[in-house]
């Protein structure tokens, strides 16, 4: 999960925002830099939430380059834009937890936050997984 995604997510139950991020494993994956995209995203970013989430990543130099408050578009230089790009799009939370104010918690596993509210459970316990999976793929174009 990228910090851009984290910045946009709210609690699926209550729409409470933000979800407090506690990251236990982080990753860093290179993404081609697009100034146009970063500038486009800036007005949509909740800056405090972004800064706080970024603080979970062990990269002091990069953090120092992130503006303290919502940056003014015309004052942004390239190093700052690149730092924002890096933290927003290249940093990933691999494992961790998202905590809502109301106490709801959502796990992040293998980079994927689980926001399903009602846990999926087998109702009848009838169908066995592997077989139904098989059948699913033997369909024509209709309704895959």
């Amino acid at each position: 999960m990228r910090l851009l995604t984290h910045n946009m997510l709210h609690c699926p139950r209550t729409k409470a925002y933000p979800l407090q991020l506690v990251a236990s494993t982080c990753d860093d994956v290179q993404v081609p830099f697009s100034e146009a995209f970063i500038r486009r995203m800036l007005p949509r970013i909740q800056w405090e939430v972004f800064r706080e989430a970024a603080a979970q990543f062990p990269d002091e130099d990069m953090l120092a380059k992130l503006p303290e408050s919502t940056p003014q578009p015309d004052t942004l230089d390239e190093p700052t834009l690149k730092a924002i790009h890096r933290a927003l799009l290249e940093w990933h939370v691999v494992d961790g937890t998202l905590k809502a104010e109301n106490g709801s918690e959502y796990a992040v596993k293998n980079g994927i936050p689980n926001l399903v509210i009602t846990e999926v459970r087998k109702e009848s316990g009838g169908a066995d997984d592997a077989n139904s999976g098989d059948a699913a793929m033997d369909v024509d174009d209709k309704g895959q």
Partner: protein, 278 residues
């Protein structure tokens, strides 16, 4: 005709570990899904050369998302099946993945996305997979939160496989109730196999001067995409004539309803020819 997958088992069981692997490995599925995703992207009518942030609902193994990446966009993909998303991870998709049930709503704050696509997924929302599932409620939760998560004027292009006219009505009505404008678009209406249904929606009132998207393959000379070729008809019929009488009546009633007229509810008798009464 093979039974519809939504009737066999819930998506979480159907798109199990084994199912996800098979899905990802099928070249035919790959080609079809890619074409559908390209069409969805085209229907979004995004400004030229502008990298956007998009949402892909029911992203699966990431076939639809790959198309968005190829066009230079960033995307977040949601799906209810962990194995499908795991396969997407193995495929090294560029989008961010979120495990979520679209029937519980889209958990993103206001005006996040420049557009949304969905390929072969939202018909699942018409199903009650569990006793506590209510399709009406789930569709409303989906469309209202999707509406909120889109920037004003942004579009959603959602390709789906309706089971019957009632499902189309249900989806369209639910989308309209959420505030979307737009509606149904049918590509290749003359071909049983290539025929594809899309909800083509705009978050907010219809934009002034916006061109309404045109369905493909309405002209009988238009080429049907490869792999979907059926016997070509030579007649030049338009899309509405392709609808059965019942579909026509239902869509007309729907239009009247949207205009605020009092219209009798649809029943199994709707659009039937009445016998001569003695």
């Amino acid at each position: 005709m093979s039974p519809r997958p939504e009737h066999k088992a819930p998506a979480t069981e159907l798109y199990s570990t084994k199912g996800a692997a098979k899905y990802a490995a099928s070249t035919r599925i790959n080609a079809v899904q890619k074409t559908l995703a390209e069409r969805c992207l085209q229907l979004l009518a995004l400004p030229e050369a502008q990298p956007s942030l998009l949402l892909d609902i029911g992203t699966g193994t990431g076939l639809s998302g790959d198309v968005l990446t190829a066009a230079g966009h960033h995307w977040v993909g949601t799906d209810i099946s962990q194995p499908m998303l795991d396969t997407a991870l193995e495929n090294d998709v560029d989008g961010d993945l979120v495990l979520a049930d679209a029937g519980e709503g889209v958990a993103f704050r206001m005006a996040t996305f420049d557009g949304a696509v969905s390929v072969s997924a939202i018909q699942w929302l018409c199903n009650a997979d569990r006793s506590d599932h209510n399709p009406h409620k789930r569709l409303n939760a989906f469309f209202s939160t999707l509406y909120a998560a889109l920037t004003r004027g942004a579009r959603a292009a959602l390709q789906f496989y309706p089971e019957n006219v009632a499902q189309i009505e249900l989806l369209v009505a639910s989308a309209m109730r959420a505030g979307f404008s737009g509606g149904l678009l049918v590509d290749y209406p003359n071909s049983t196999k290539a025929k594809k249904y899309y909800l083509c929606l705009t978050a907010g009132p219809p934009q002034k001067g916006a061109v309404q998207p045109k369905p493909l393959g309405v002209d009988s000379n238009a080429s049907v995409p490869v792999g979907n070729r059926t016997t070509q008809t030579t007649s030049r019929r338009n899309a509405s004539q392709q609808l059965s009488r019942k579909d026509q009546v239902i869509s007309k009633k729907d239009r009247r309803r949207r205009q605020g007229h009092l219209v009798r509810p649809d029943s199994k008798y709707t659009g039937r020819k009445r016998r001569v009464q003695f």
